[in-house]
């Protein structure tokens, strides 16, 4: 094979949230780069759609709701030794600050922060991570560089993600395990529009705020994940890779 420091050949990678959006794209691109991919997501049908898009052989899919302890344990026990984990499962809840409730906070923190944290912890406890492995968290510009109207709860979960990336990276450095996040601006996924909280017109207004004149594409986040999973980034840990079309320059 030609020289390619970004290759994921001989690497096994777990991708959560792989049934849609950024997670799906990451799974697809990792497979293209030679990885054996283990994908998980809540929706069986959509997870299977992702699975059918994976190039190569040996990939595994496992439908699981990571909010259910039993399903998470089953998933972790089923996993082979891993060279990479991408935490792409996440939700957006758009609600003005004064309408925050304990239940809403607990739900969004459970999905965006607590589950990926505990999964990482269990993977290490159960010795599922190879030496030199790489954790990649999908964070956001929201809560780390800026925020958006009605996005206080979401922002706080991503602020927490950025924080744990730093601490995890330090604690796992001894094992030569790297931990980084990708902090994207608005990516063209169905996450926001499908819920209908934001209208199509508002989206068009939002696009104008991006110096590169468009939202990001899921694969543009996936390429960054490939980089952070590959040996090309072997000396990078505890960092937050900003991918935002220039949004936070203004």
């Amino acid at each position: 094979m030609r020289h390619n420091p970004f290759s994921l050949a001989n690497k096994t990678v777990l991708v959560t949230g792989a049934s849609s959006g950024i997670g799906r794209s990451i799974a697809v691109e990792c497979a293209k780069m030679g990885a054996t991919v283990f994908i998980t997501g809540r929706n069986e049908e959509r997870l299977n759609e992702t699975y059918n898009q994976l190039e190569g052989t040996g990939h595994i899919q496992c439908t699981a709701d990571l909010q259910m302890e039993e399903q998470t344990t089953r998933l972790i026990d089923a996993l082979p030794l891993l060279d990479g984990v991408v935490h792409a499962a996440g939700i957006v809840t758009t609600v003005p600050f004064q309408f925050i409730t304990k239940e809403k906070l607990e739900e969004i923190f459970a999905i965006n922060f607590i589950s990926p944290t505990l999964i990482s912890q269990q993977l290490l406890q159960k010795k599922k991570m190879n030496k030199g492995a790489s954790f990649v968290w999908i964070s956001s510009i929201s809560g780390t560089v800026c925020s958006f109207i009605g996005n206080a709860m979401y922002s706080s979960t991503k602020g927490a993600v950025n924080g744990i990336v730093k601490g995890m990276a330090l604690d796992l450095a001894k094992k030569e395990i790297r931990v980084n996040s990708i902090n994207p601006g608005q990516i063209d996924t169905d996450l926001l529009v499908a819920k209908g909280v934001i209208t199509a017109e508002q989206m068009q207004e939002e696009i104008k705020k991006y110096p590169l004149k468009r939202f990001g594409k899921p694969e543009e986040v996936a390429y960054a994940a490939v980089y952070l999973l590959s040996n090309a980034s072997n000396w990078i840990t505890g960092t937050h890779l900003l991918i935002d079309g220039g949004y936070t320059l203004l």
Partner: protein, 77 residues
């Protein structure tokens, strides 16, 4: 569901506009200078909290008066 209560709950989201301004016929998106995207989100959240009904941005966009929105919420109840 009572329209007067709805108007009161609607008005409660505003800080600058006096409560007396709000009637069933108020064209809230056109007439109220205070109206903005955050208020739209607040109204969506108020409807969810007070009436346990999920409305979308498009429901607000398709409403001209407060009564129009009230009717949408009522129809989803």
């Amino acid at each position: 569901m009572d329209i007067n209560d709805f108007i009161k709950n609607f008005a409660a989201q505003f800080d600058e506009t006096d409560e007396s301004v709000f009637t069933a016929q108020t064209k809230f998106r056109e007439e109220l200078g205070e109206w903005d995207s955050l208020l739209a989100l607040s109204v969506i959240a108020m409807v969810d909290t007070e009436y346990n009904v999920t409305i979308k941005g498009d429901d607000i966009k398709s409403s001209t008066t407060i009564e129009d929105l009230y009717n949408i919420v009522k129809s989803k109840k």
